[in-house]
């Protein structure tokens, strides 16, 4: 088998596991709902506040949910020493990383797409084609979070920081990407105001370029460093 077949096999295994157990997706979606609820009480979110804090609320909720979901990346392999089995098999560390990262990416994207209607409902978004560029923001944002998160999730189990490890390390590194996500989302949602609906608001390209750059850097750096994490 060649590397992409390794990746596909590992990814298929993770997706099938999730399909049967639903251990990550359902709790993550529910958690996003709860965070939206908490923010609602904290900030008295009304129609007027949407433009100002809506995107920040959405991304904070997604980020917090993803940090909890990402913890499961490798703990799911704890039973029967599955991780040792994978490491002993002729699968390269890089393939393992890419498979795990791709899985996390898909989970995050799914969570974002499922919770978007909820967010739209709470914030009274009008449905329209102007929301289409959000897909790009979701894809790039998820790439950043999954790249960094998968690397740190692999280390978390071995530190006394335990469940603190992933958020304490991921959050500072992801904040610049998060800023771009929030700014881009603000621009897109602002374009939905009746009267001047536009598919590509001015300045969106800059934020997406920043986000894409973050995604590429985070992914390749994490891919490179993953070998050192999984040495034993």
């Amino acid at each position: 088998m060649i590397w992409w077949q390794h990746i596909a096999t590992l990814l298929r295994k993770d997706l099938r596991l999730e399909w049967r157990s639903k251990e990550r997706l359902s709790p993550m979606v529910f958690f996003v709902l709860l965070v939206l609820l908490v923010f609602n009480f904290g900030f008295e979110l009304g129609g007027a506040a949407l433009g100002e804090i809506g995107p920040g609320v959405l991304w904070s909720a997604v980020l917090f949910a993803s940090l909890i979901g990402l913890q499961r990346t490798f703990t799911a392999e704890d039973a029967d020493d599955c991780l040792d089995g994978i490491l002993a098999s002729p699968v390269s560390r890089s393939s393992l990383y890419v498979a795990k990262m791709a899985g996390n990416f898909l989970f995050l994207l799914a969570v974002e797409l499922i919770t978007l209607p909820l967010f739209g409902l709470f914030f009274n978004l009008t449905v329209g084609a102007y929301l289409a560029p959000l897909l790009i923001v979701f894809a790039l944002g998820s790439t950043c979070i999954a790249s960094v998160g998968t690397l740190f999730a692999a280390m978390a189990g071995h530190s006394r920081l335990r469940e603190f490890f992933l958020p304490l390390l991921s959050l500072p590194i992801l904040i610049p990407a998060l800023i771009s996500c929030v700014e881009a989302t603000s621009l897109i949602l602002a374009a939905g105001v009746p009267g001047h609906t536009t598919l590509w608001p001015d300045g969106l390209g800059t934020h997406l370029a920043m986000l894409a750059a973050s995604g590429v850097i985070c992914f390749f750096l994490a891919l490179l460093l993953f070998d050192f994490v999984m040495e034993e």
Partner: protein
């Protein structure tokens, strides 16, 4: 090891070099202080409070250098797997945090009379705070890991990836829109101000090297004591 072969000479040379460095740090620091308060001309608009600039910028430069050393030390460790590189990265991170704290304390003190508030979420300030938190997290990885090879390896991995945001602090004044900026992209200084600035840079660089050497020596000695203890336990 050379230390065990000729302990007396090595120790005395180290001491002489160390004393020399201490004197250089003391002299340059006093000179820097005198220059800041007596030599540098008073800025026309901001007045005396602008004198914070010299230590503020020097601390920022030193912190940036320290974070670069963490990056280099981490790569060094991953390549060579020697404790020396790990200690180097760890100590550089400590000093980076320390000098960042200088920046984050002196900045608001300067900002209060000029911007009217202690804190503004403007690009350079925000990116500096992000970088600071990143290295505090790095220090926690070291502090909360079981002592040993794995923690050193994990710290090195974090030390490499932590550096991705450091260039943002430098480029923050250009990357974000000008209307969000409160830090100037470029500063034109009077000759007396520029000379004072470079003197402060030199004093802080010496202070950094002094701290670095002091802590490296301390860590080296601690490691040696550990080894001796282990040998003693084996003999007993």
């Amino acid at each position: 090891m050379t230390a065990s072969a000729a302990p007396a000479t090595t120790n005395s040379t180290t001491t002489v070099r160390h004393t020399g460095l201490s004197v250089a740090v003391a002299v340059s620091m006093v000179a820097a202080l005198l220059a800041v308060f007596l030599y540098a001309p008073t800025e026309r608009q901001m007045g005396a409070v602008q004198r914070i600039f010299y230590f503020h910028v020097s601390s920022a430069l030193t912190a940036g250098t320290a974070y670069f050393f963490v990056f280099v030390g981490s790569i060094g460790y991953l390549v060579h797997r020697h404790d020396r590189w790990d200690r180097f990265a760890g100590i550089a991170a400590e000093l980076g945090i320390l000098f960042s704290l200088f920046v984050l304390i002196s900045g608001p003190l300067w900002a209060k009379p000029i911007w009217g508030v202690y804190w503004r979420w403007e690009p350079r300030l925000t990116t500096m705070l992000i970088t600071f938190t990143t290295y505090v997290a790095y220090a926690m990885v070291r502090a909360y890991g079981e002592p040993g090879e794995r923690t050193q390896r994990f710290a090195a991995v974090v030390g490499v990836i932590a550096f991705v945001n450091v260039p943002l602090v430098h480029y923050a004044v250009h990357l974000w829109a000008a209307d969000q900026q409160l830090h100037p992209p470029k500063i034109d200084l009077a000759p007396g101000m520029a000379q004072t600035k470079y003197l402060c840079h030199a004093a802080f660089a010496l202070l950094f090297v002094y701290f670095m050497r002091l802590r490296l020596r301390q860590e080296r000695l601690a490691a040696r004591i550990d080894r001796l203890r282990l040998r003693l336990a084996e003999q007993a």
